[in-house]
Symmetry: C2
Subunit: 323 residues, 2 copies
Amino acid sequence: MSEADSDAPLRGGIDLGGTKIEAVVFDAENQAKGSARHPTPTSGGPADVAAAMGVAMHEAAQAAGLTTAQLKGVGVGSPGSVDGANGTVASARNLPGWDGSYALGQELEHALGTRVVVGNDVQVAITAEYQLGAGRPYASLLGVFWGTGVGGGLILGGTPWRGRGGAGEIGHMVIERGGRRCPCGNRGCLEAYAGRGAMEARARKLIADGRDSDLPKIMRDKGRTRFTSSVWAKALEHEDPLATELIDQAVNALGAGIASAVNLLDVEAVIIGGGLGVRFGDPYAERIRAAMKKHLFPGHQDPDVHLTGLGDLGGALGAALLV
Amino acid sequence: MSEADSDAPLRGGIDLGGTKIEAVVFDAENQAKGSARHPTPTSGGPADVAAAMGVAMHEAAQAAGLTTAQLKGVGVGSPGSVDGANGTVASARNLPGWDGSYALGQELEHALGTRVVVGNDVQVAITAEYQLGAGRPYASLLGVFWGTGVGGGLILGGTPWRGRGGAGEIGHMVIERGGRRCPCGNRGCLEAYAGRGAMEARARKLIADGRDSDLPKIMRDKGRTRFTSSVWAKALEHEDPLATELIDQAVNALGAGIASAVNLLDVEAVIIGGGLGVRFGDPYAERIRAAMKKHLFPGHQDPDVHLTGLGDLGGALGAALLV
C-alpha cells in the first residue's frame, strides 16, 4: 500500500437490496468518490448475486480511480440472517434461491482482493443514520426501510439492538389478523400491504383479473422488468387509480405497524428510508406520520418522524462503516 | 431501629392493579412474612386509592408482627406513567379519576411513616422475574401481564428498557386495524380483545343485548361487583359459552400481539403473568404459545414461553426490590 493510500484510506460499501445493488467508494470523510448500481438478479442463486455485487464494486472503484484491491476493505449490508463473524448470509427471502446459508464474505474477498465485512442491511443503515444522519440528535431510534420488503433497525439507548441476530422484523408485525398473505407465508403482516414485492404481486394479480393500470406500460417504457420504486412514482404522478390505491393502503399499513412498534418501545424518533421511502421523500414521511397518529398510545409523547438524512447512499455508507 | 431490625431489615411491596391492591412484607431472603389484599376502589380518585393502599400495607405489616414505620421502606408498582424520582404517577387509565398527576409516594410516606419508592408495575414485575423468577436463564425477556389491562415489560441485554418512561405498551399494539374500540380510545389494540376490563365491558354489553351467560350470577355468588379473574375462571369451568368465546378471542389476540413484539425484538423468552395469566396458569401459557405460532417470523428461532415463576406475588416482590 502506498503512503498516500494509508494517509487517506478509501473504503467500499455495498448495499444489497431486493431490487438493486448499490456499490460506493467512500473517503475518510464519508464522501462518495465513485459508485455503481446494478439491478439485483431475479433468478439463479446466491453465487449470481455475489457475482453482480463484485462487478458493481469493481465499477465503483474504477469510477473512484483505483482498483478494489487498493481499498482498505469493503462492507456489505445484506438482507437475511447475517453471521458477521464468518461472513455468511442465510434466509435472504427477497433474493433468488437464497433459502440456505451462503459464504458471501469469503466469495467477495476472492472477487475483490480485499477484506470484506458483512452486516445486516437495516442494522448498518440505522447505525449510519444514528452516527451521521437524521438520527444524530436522538439516543433511541426506529429505522423503517420501506423497499422490496419492510425492514426495521433499532438503536436503543445509543446501542444497536439485534436480539439473537434477527431483531427488527417490523415488516412481520401483525396489523390485520387473517389479512393479506405475506411473502413470509404468514397472514396480515405489515409487509403484505407495504412491501414493494407484495404490492407488485397484488397489482399484477388485480391487472390479470381485469383491473386497468398504467403500471406495466410505465415499467416497459423504463426498460424495467419489475415495478420498481421509480415505476410506482411515475404511476402516482399520472394518478393511476390502482397504484394510488395500493400506495394509500401501504401508507395506512405503515402507520399502524410503526405506531405499534413505537407504543412498545417508546423511542424518540422514527427514520423512514428504503427504496420507496427515499423515492417518495418528505411528503410521504409526513403521510406516514399522520397515519401513525390514530394508533399511537395516548399516554405517550409522540415520536419525531424524519426521512433518512443520508438518502439513497445511507445503506452503502453504513456498510462501509463496518470496515 | 433495633439491632435485630438492622440485621434483617424487612421491606414492603405494594402491587397496585386495576382490580386489586396486594401488599406484602418480605424478609431479606425475599420470603413473604405477611400480606393483605384489598379490591382497588372503583370510584373516587387517586387519594381514595392511596388510602386503600395504606390500609393494606398496615395490615400486611401487622400480619408480619411489626408496624409499617419499622420497615426499611416500601416499594410500589403502579400502572400509568411513573416518575420514580419524585414518586408521582400520571395517566393511570385503569384506576378511577386518575388522569392527572398525583404525588403517590409522598402521600404514602405520610401514611406509612417510612420511605416509599414508586416504579412502573410491569417494569418492576419483569425485573423480579429476570432476577428471581422464570426469566433467570435469559438475557432478553418480554413480560406480558394479562390483567385488567395488558401490560408489557422489557429486559434487553440484561437491562430494563423503559424508552422515555413509557415503553412496554404491548396492549396498545394494533392487531386489527379498524377493529374493536380499546379503553385507550384507539381501535384494534390487543387490549381491546384481551384486557379484563375490555372483556368485561364487552360481556356486559352482549348480555344487555340478550346473550345468555352465567358471568353475572357467578360474580354475585362470589360477592364481587366486577368480573374478576376468579369469576372468569369459574365461568370457564362451567363451560359458559360467552365466557369461553371471549377468552378464546383474548388468547388469539395475545398470540398475534406477542408474536408481533417478538418479531420486532427477537427476545429469548416471553413470560406470562398478570391477574388472568396467573389465574389460568400453564395450560393458558401453552395456548398463548400455540396462538403465537402462526404469526412468528419463519426466519427466527421461536422464543421460549413461560408462566411467571413468582406467581401472584411477583408484582409485590418486584416493588419491594425497589427499596
